[in-house]
Subunit: 102 residues, 2 copies
């Protein structure tokens, strides 16, 4: 399993609308092949910064599958308008722990 | 619940020892009041970068409780020697999702 971490800075003051758009966009990404789970978190120190933690079966499921799909266009159309700058996306592999909350 | 995210860059080539130290350090933090769970992830694009995702009952459990405790000294003594630079720590609140893997 691979963890995609996307750090997203939104335009100030649009948090409420962004979270609503995210809840819609969740349905889009959740239908992708290899999708495992999504968690969206808001910064406490920086409330305009969000971190999306999306788990995929494999790296390819995200990078080649989802990003190359028609669904990715819909995902971006929903949440992209709130971005203040391009998201910073990295991929991680769990080396310790159970992959989340108990 | 609050998610602590610590981004740690280690000295190149010390990943194996760092992960061993982390598995020891896990026992230290797991005993702290308010500790919920820990997940450690290694960067796929940047293998010298780790992200620790530590869940706490409250922000204070981490910032005032754990950081002010004797256990924090032991935690840092175990993993600190591998740091290439000071960790970047932020706190996040989950706004969407179930808090981790299914």
């Amino acid at each position: 399993m691979v963890l995609e971490q996307a750090v997203i800075t939104i335009r100030p003051g649009t948090g409420r609308e962004f979270e609503y758009a995210l809840s819609e966009a969740r349905g889009v990404v959740a239908g992708a092949a290899g999708f495992v789970s999504i968690e969206a978190c808001r910064g406490i120190e920086r409330p305009d910064e969000y971190v999306l933690l999306i788990r995929w079966r494999t790296l390819e499921d995200h990078v080649e599958g989802f990003r190359g799909s028609e669904a990715f266009g819909r995902w971006r159309a929903l949440i992209g308008p709130f971005f203040a700058s391009p998201p910073v996306v990295t991929h991680l592999a769990t080396v310790l722990g159970d992959g989340g909350a108990p």
